[in-house]
Amino acid sequence: MSKTAWDRVTLARELERPKATDYINNIFHDFIELHGDRYFGDDKSIVAGIALLDDKPVTIIGEQKGKNVKENMERNFGMPEPEGYRKALRLMKQAEKFKRPIITFIDTPGAYPGMGAEERGQGEAIAKNLMEMSKLKVPIICIVIGEGSSGGALAIGVGDKIIMLENAVYSVLSPEGFASILYKDSSKAKEAAENMKLTAKDLKKLGIIDKIIKEPEKGAQNDFEAICENIKEYLLKEIKNLEKLTEKELVEQRYKKFRVM
């Protein structure tokens, strides 16, 4: 039976669903995590560092949710504060310096709407990432693995290729938030999800994403090895293609990609 949009929202949010670090550990090797934004702190809702993809060094940025309450508390449920985005930007700039491709894993209910985040410029941090990512001279591939919600997802989502897992969702806001704004009733999230065009299939049709990675019926955790294999194959192929472009062509192509959206 085909799934409703809400079915996929539910799958995308499952605690057992593989998280960014699962992908990092399975697809890459020799991962070394790097910490801190050099201004204020280290945001644990974003995991970042360098690893090898086969024998190729790459920089990885991932929004990290937990698989239980304790982990989620530690990771702030995958909701970054400005420090997370600034850490991501610092390491993406570093990747550019050393000519490493960048791979991002998107999985967040949104940027954290807290007082500290506002005091430290959540909007500015996201804006800066969007602007800087648009002109980085290395290939960027973004993968939505679970929940991609709002500017908090896009802040690490300006890439040459954007791909999604079959049951991942990507939207301007969570269905709950959307329902509370447009229907003045957050309990209408289910109904909202069906109208928001947030599934991988919808986004492919809208021309927002480039590829869908298949999942087994009951979600990514049920055949995780195969999914990692598919992602790895895609990364190797596309990085090779993107590296054929000159830096100028690469940046221009990325500009055009978002220009037509």
């Binding site: 007082m115 410029g121 996201i126 648009s134 109208n195 947030l198």
Partner: protein, 289 residues
């Protein structure tokens, strides 16, 4: 004396009654200041640049009035006017709502862009309009702004953006989110050409606009006491389960936290912009390569 006092109380009562009746909305020729509760004659208010003469509150401005205040008379030439609202999600009732609104307000989208002069200096000026779906950014808004930025690049002109926005245009879903990336990427190009970009934040500037071009100015100005933030106050209060302190996310708060350059009152805005334009007109130091 006592009679005077009684008279005064009666007067106050009358004013109070009148105020209550007026509620927060404009009624006919009168409008109530929702800050000091004074009833103001609309024409007086508009003559005063839509700033309350009693308490200094800056009322929200339509794009049309804003352009009139900022651009030299008769110089504004609109660009991107033919870019109109699209409905990428085929969202139920959206186009109808837009059409009704267009008819009612005579505004065609939440931003108006053009080329104009400010004290004789040519600029690209973009002005958002909060009267159109709370100044939310959908594809047409993102497209008009991007076109404005690209026009500035092509004609080597400075760019000024007046921002007012409730954030992303929900009815356009993911496509509205992507306008953040599009406009920010265009600003990156503008920067590479060494062109000036001044962003002016007005009440309210929130969500996806704050998290894109609004926060990317070389110089960021704000009107006094504007609400400026990424997350809306209500969302924050629901998340942290407590009331926000007074003045949280105000222009003054942002200035204190280092996110804007200067707060400028409306009466000084044009002059300040003109001055900044002049300071950038001559270019920087030239060095031999």
């Amino acid at each position: 004396m006592i009679i005077d006092k009684v008279k005064k109380i009666n007067e106050e009562e009358k004013v109070k009654k009148r105020n209550e009746k007026a509620s927060d909305r404009m009624i006919g020729k009168w409008v109530k200041c929702d800050n000091c509760k004074e009833i103001l004659y609309k024409e007086e208010l508009h003559k005063n640049l839509s700033v309350c003469p009693n308490c200094g509150k800056h009322f929200r401005l339509s794009a049309r009035r804003r352009i009139k205040q900022i651009a030299d008379e008769g110089t504004f030439e609109e660009i991107g006017k033919d870019i109109l609202t699209s409905d990428p999600l085929q969202f139920d009732g959206y186009m109808k709502k837009v059409e009704t609104l267009r008819e009612k307000t005579k505004i065609d989208e939440a931003v108006k862009c053009g080329i104009c002069e400010i004290e004789g200096q040519k600029v690209v000026l973009g002005v958002m309009d909060g009267n159109f779906l709370m100044g939310s950014m959908g594809r047409a808004v993102g497209e008009r702004i991007t076109l404005a930025i690209e026009t500035a690049i092509k004609k080597k002109l400075p760019l000024i953006m007046f921002c007012v926005s409730g954030g992303a245009r929900m009815q356009e879903g993911i496509v509205s989110l992507m306008q953040m990336a599009k406009t920010s990427a265009a600003i990156a190009k503008l920067n590479e050409k060494g062109l000036l970009y001044i962003s002016v934040l007005t009440d309210p500037t929130t969500g996806g606009v704050t998290a894109s071009f609004a926060s990317l100015g070389d110089i960021i100005l704000a009107e006094p006491k504007a609400l400026i933030g990424f997350a809306g106050p209500r969302v924050i209060e629901q998340t942290i389960k407590q009331k926000l302190p007074k003045g949280f996310q105000s222009s003054e708060f942002l200035l204190e936290h280092g996110f804007i350059d200067k707060i400028v009152e409306r009466k000084d805005m044009k002059e300040t912009l003109a001055k900044l334009l002049r300071l950038h007109a001559k270019g920087g130091a030239k060095r031999n390569e």
